[in-house]
Symmetry: C2
Subunit: 428 residues, 2 copies
């Protein structure tokens, strides 16, 4: 077992450079742990001349990642280019077809093509792994697939987009509106080129779909993720939720119910004193619930050179040690197609509205809620500002369908200024 494991790395951005640094700087440690050296034989990137702060002179260079993927001196194709389709997918397919193992950090590619790629890998006898695609440095795919392999997973939750959590917690601490902090995040380079990927919940939704597949033995179904971003979260909601003992998080929830698989990525209220509620800034957190293990919480950096490269190396080291596991924890050919849940799991909801200063206004709202069977857990009316008064309501658990009826009924009363805001409160 002293034959080196030879890596071909496609994509030399932040993460790619991070992987090169680990392989170069920790060579002895890696060899001791793997029982064999880890070597890089070839690399590929869009721009050969860019200064990356790493030595690349010892490695063969390929302009074409597909050519890199097919090289005879590459055992593991490390795909760090990104993008759901295009060169990343073409190269991953080429690598698999050539019998190479593949390690990728590409959540978009796997969310859209994970099932096909995993099937192809199985057919070719190749391994396809993606620890770095979910929650950066947190070894959550491993925890779920292997650490909790004896469990029936009941629910997976997570704050898996550091930028959104940065924006939400920064809004709270700086007492500034979404637009200001969004602009700040953009200037700091925290946002993707297309910011909708972050703030629209798409990036986090990709990750959730991958975790749901592993957790529930179902084929990845990104189309089945109900997506809602943080764009409409106001500073008023953040502060008033806090006042009620909650914080707002862009929370992913995947849950297998009698009515099918629930996959939701949306702003939720969570108790301020829960691990999820205490999460600040760009940190990620994943909560795994299983029978019989109960609740396991994992927390760590969700992005960045070091954490993501660490996760890439976890997969590489597994392969180096001879560990050969299915992409999604069981053979892709055996994964069931998920049945998306027809209705959501009941939950309590936070409602915020601006009540007009009219006699009987609050009674009308309470009556509407009562009529559709939504009962009130807590209600607060704040001091009038000009002609309206902010009213907060926390409901008891109710179905989303009943709540939607209530929201329509509340609009119809004519005692509200604008529409009520409704945000789900997740039991965590």
């Amino acid at each position: 077992m002293t034959t080196p494991l030879r890596l071909g790395i496609a994509g030399l951005g932040t993460v790619g450079a991070g992987v090169v640094k680990i392989v170069q700087r920790k060579a002895d440690l890696l060899a001791r742990r793997a029982g064999r050296p880890i070597a890089i034989t070839a690399v590929s990137a869009r721009n050969r001349d860019k200064e990356r702060g790493i030595r690349l002179g010892d490695y063969a260079w390929e302009d074409d990642p597909v050519a890199l993927a097919r090289r005879d001196d590459v055992d593991v194709f490390v795909e760090l280019m990104g993008g759901a389709d295009g060169p990343a997918k073409a190269a991953a397919e080429a690598a698999i077809a050539a019998g190479r193992d593949v390690v990728t950090a590409n959540k978009a590619m796997l969310a859209h093509h994970g099932q096909d790629l995993a099937l192809a890998a199985e057919k070719a006898g190749a391994v396809l792994r993606f620890e770095a695609a979910v929650a950066g440095g947190i070894p959550v795919v491993k925890a779920l697939t292997e650490g909790l392999a004896g469990n029936e997973v009941t629910r997976v939750m997570g704050v898996m987009n550091g930028t959104c959590n940065y924006i939400l917690t920064r809004m709270e601490h700086a007492h500034l509106p979404y637009e200001d902090i969004f602009e700040e995040a953009r200037k700091l380079g925290y946002l993707e080129a297309d910011p909708t990927l972050d703030v629209g919940g798409i990036d986090a939704g990709h990750k959730l779909a991958l975790l749901a597949s592993v957790a529930f033995g179902a084929q990845v179904d990104f189309a089945g993720v109900a997506l809602e971003g943080i764009e409409r979260i106001s500073i008023a909601d953040i502060e008033q939720a806090r006042d009620m003992g909650y914080r707002i998080k862009l929370l992913g929830v995947a849950q297998m119910t009698g009515r099918g698989l629930v996959q939701r990525m949306s702003p939720c209220l969570v108790p301020a004193d829960s691990p999820l509620g205490q999460l600040e800034g760009g940190t990620n957190m994943v909560v795994l619930e299983g029978d019989p293990v109960g609740q396991i919480v994992l927390r760590g950096a969700g992005a960045g050179e070091g954490p993501t490269a660490s996760a890439v190396m976890a997969d590489v080291m597994d392969i180096a040690r001879g560990t050969r596991l299915s992409t999604f924890g069981q053979p892709a050919s055996a994964l069931a197609q998920a049945t998306p849940a027809v209705s959501s799991v009941p939950a309590a909801f936070y409602l915020r509205m601006e009540l007009q200063d009219k006699p009987g206004a609050l009674a009308k709202i309470a009556t509407v809620l009562g009529e559709v069977g939504v009962s009130i857990d807590r209600m607060r009316q704040y001091q009038h500002t000009e002609a309206t008064a902010p009213v907060l309501i926390v409901t008891h658990k109710t179905r989303r369908e009943a709540l939607d009826q209530a929201l329509a009924g509340m609009d119809a009363t004519g005692v509200l200024e604008g529409h009520p805001v409704a945000i789900r409160i997740e039991d965590v």
Copy 2:
């Protein structure tokens, strides 16, 4: 790969019964994930007739765990008897000698004999795994050995004895002294038959020594763990630490320094708003720090039937899937002997003392600290009660040796009632 993996389980207490339940109730799920059925062929326990709420009729019974370990129809010997020596060790050795793989939850046995057992297993081509021995259901051995395999681990910390954390947090919430809560914990069955194992930090120290071995590639060195229990923690310390923004935890810290390996299991102050500081009751938490991953925090139930059985099954499932890893993350024959650190890492300290009501008393204390080079970060003197006033001091970072000098000097001033209490503040 449809040959069943055959388990022989020795020890049918809480954890053993939990493992039997998983194998029986989740047979289909396990088979799907492992690619082969998981079967129990034989069991052993002290009392055959005890009612355990599980069906055992299909399994062969062995009175002698050594005989069980040697059975030809056992692939994996699952050791859940406990005890550092005696039958557990004899049976584990017999299993290894017979070429069986071994999965154990036995921290005491591994803390004392882990190196020898791992060497024997390697020689025999057998696998020896122990996920369940550390932090219950949290897959921390896997996270460290595999998930962070690309990292140089810099520090491992953990609250790994749920009973101690229960006692400390319960003292705080109930506002009751140690003795009362100790008694309560005893009645609730939270304490080991020999409670020193819990409150003396020994059980948690075993776990720390195992994690340190994996983290730093060193032979297990339980004798090198500086142990201090929670027996002398007073309600005054808990409350006054809280007042300064800290909570007291029985915290394990393993750290590789230029002066050798630090292994400490002792009461420490941690910031109340840190993940460790927020930990309540019997929950465990392990903090892993590595380059380049940064900080990873894992949280979950540290004991109990379900969580511990879940961890046992993680090892069983690895073996069923063909994953064959070294016990401590690299070959035992390659593990260095740890050099225990000659001096501890500098830290801030919390000091509590009862100052006599004499003019110049506080000045004398401050002078003593200054003379040995210990500088004061914060100080609070509380209202006098009878003849003395409680004084709290948080020092800047200092070496333990300087602090010990200061403590001796403070005793010599003659202005204190009793001795000062000194508790380390860990940077977390």
